[in-house]
Symmetry: C2
Subunit: 333 residues, 2 copies
């Protein structure tokens, strides 16, 4: 294992120290318990938006903390759920009197720990609504999940709901919006090469030199099939067809599209995949209204990509365009 | 070789097609000859800023085309210089009557082809100034270079000079500024793992499982030494010390700092390195006034990072903060 780290047990804390040092005007980092929080939190009268999950998916979630997106993020150890005390502390810290939305990816540990934290907060008078993201069309159950896994739509939900909270939506309305985003978002990923969790010291899975894993999870969980590598044209078409037929998306729809790198794939390749995706989408009579191309929800240095499509309405697009100031997404400010 | 591509010979063109499809409001792509150009070019009365070089370093340079940064970028094949006809066509296309600045990284092929293009343009009445970036402190000459290689300072020069041109600086003043940025910028990189050029099909070099290349070039050119991997703390300190003593930087200086990923290194690790760098810099009495942490000048999927420090004056910082709207750098718009 070759990594730019010191002690495998301290990677998350040391990385967060760097995040805090780099972006002091946007966010702060609490170390006991560990969470990342907007520099100006709590914002009085504003719904707080909190997410979290295992580390190793950067920039998600800590890189999305800031004005117009998340109020706080709770990072667990690498590929490990955050604990209830982290989530409870972050939720309390961002409560500006209007309650807090939890955006939770569908993994068993995340669900349990966010639920426990929400109960603790509610018992202390902090209203909490939780929305579970389960957008991965690849598999119905998986290694760490009952039902579908939560992946790329999380990024889009954090942007859109963060903007809604910034505009002053109340908690019920932000939560309803998050559920609508989840209901209209679908994702699928694939891997060319695995990644290594620092504390494990060896790759989480292996692939042959000519093999890819189609439908991979963001922790390297098995997908739909291992198959010989094909062209980007064929791989993109396969992922897009699976996603498009699932919602289903239809001619006339407008979508927010994300081509996301898993961490170890060059931007040169991600744009090539985006070009392929844009052709597929156009051929179905669907319009890509907004898009992201880059590393947004990663799996350490895994090579591969995922595609997320969100069927967007006017409200979502307006909120998407709202100003955002975070380490990883920034516009209008 | 496992990559998200179709034909190794068509990677650059197909990736540029995706770039154009994703960012039509910012830029256009010409395919014969190949260049990337601001959607609204030429801007009448504004100095044009053009850069270019081999592909495989994305987002540099095509991802930096847009308002407040580059007017055009000329991408060669992967790790191969662009040809004079590309550069000449791009230069002519962005000339708004105030002349064009070429920002050229110091590689023999780039220098030759940019010089030839500049002569052709000048013969046709387009004033061209060229500034060579040679900021890499690792080695004095290298595989493709007489003198020092041009690396991370290129990104900072493109932002600062792009802002100056946007403000209406004349050609002589933008060129003088670019020379000042180069004179005050220093970089050094290191690699944990190599990358594979698609047309070559195999890694450009090999490293043992416990070995890193200190002072690596962005095409995998040999650096200063191969050595056993050390902690991020030690590796960062070594790079920082070499950079700091070269200019030299001194207590009281303000710097723009960039911790840049080579393409295959997780953001988790880059922020950890940034945290280490911030400590070194602070211990020297130097202030980090602005910073970038992420993938800006990459080497395909190479694992590793580079550090760039620019001793910045008030003018550079003001121009740094100016609005920019490109695929890879965006703020204030």
């Amino acid at each position: 294992m070759k990594k730019l780290i010191n002690d495998p047990q301290e990677v998350v804390r040391e990385s967060l120290a760097g995040l805090a040092a780099a972006h002091a005007e946007i966010l702060r980092v609490s170390l006991d318990p560990v969470y990342v929080i907007r520099a100006d939190a709590p914002v009085a009268g504003k719904v707080g938006v909190v997410s979290g999950g295992g580390s190793g998916h950067e920039p998600m979630h800590g890189g999305f903390v800031g004005k117009g997106m998340l109020d706080a993020a709770c990072p667990g150890q690498v590929f490990t759920s955050p604990t209830p005390d982290q989530i409870e502390a972050a939720t309390s810290a961002v409560n500006g009197g209007a309650g807090v939305l939890h955006i939770v990816k569908n993994y068993t540990g995340d669900i349990l720990n966010f639920e426990m934290a929400a109960e603790l907060c509610q018992a202390r008078g902090v209203p909490v609504e939780s929305v579970v993201i389960n957008d991965d069309v690849a598999v119905e159950d998986s290694l760490y999940t009952a039902g579908r896994r939560g992946v790329g739509t999380t990024v889009l939900a954090e942007k859109i709901c963060g903007a809604a909270a910034q505009r002053g939506y109340d908690l019920a309305r932000v939560a309803a919006l998050a559920r609508r985003v989840n209901a209209n978002g679908r994702s699928m990923g694939m891997a060319l090469n695995p990644c290594t969790v620092p504390a494990a010291g060896k790759p989480g899975f292996t692939l042959r030199d000519d093999e890819v894993e189609m439908g991979i999870g963001i922790h390297g969980e098995p997908g739909r099939e291992r198959m010989p590598i094909r062209t980007a044209h064929e791989l993109t078409a396969q992922m897009a067809a699976t996603i498009l037929s699932d919602l289903p998306f239809a001619g006339g729809d407008r979508v927010i599209a994300m081509v996301n790198g898993m961490g170890g794939t060059p931007l040169l390749e991600l744009y090539l995949v985006y070009g392929e995706l844009a052709q597929v989408i156009r051929s179905r009579g669907i319009a890509i209204a907004r898009r992201l191309v880059g590393n947004y929800i990663t799996s350490l240095e895994m090579a591969g990509c995922s595609i997320t499509l969100l069927k967007a309405d006017d409200e979502m697009l307006t909120l998407w365009d709202d100003p955002v100031l975070t380490p990883a997404l920034r516009w209008g400010i």
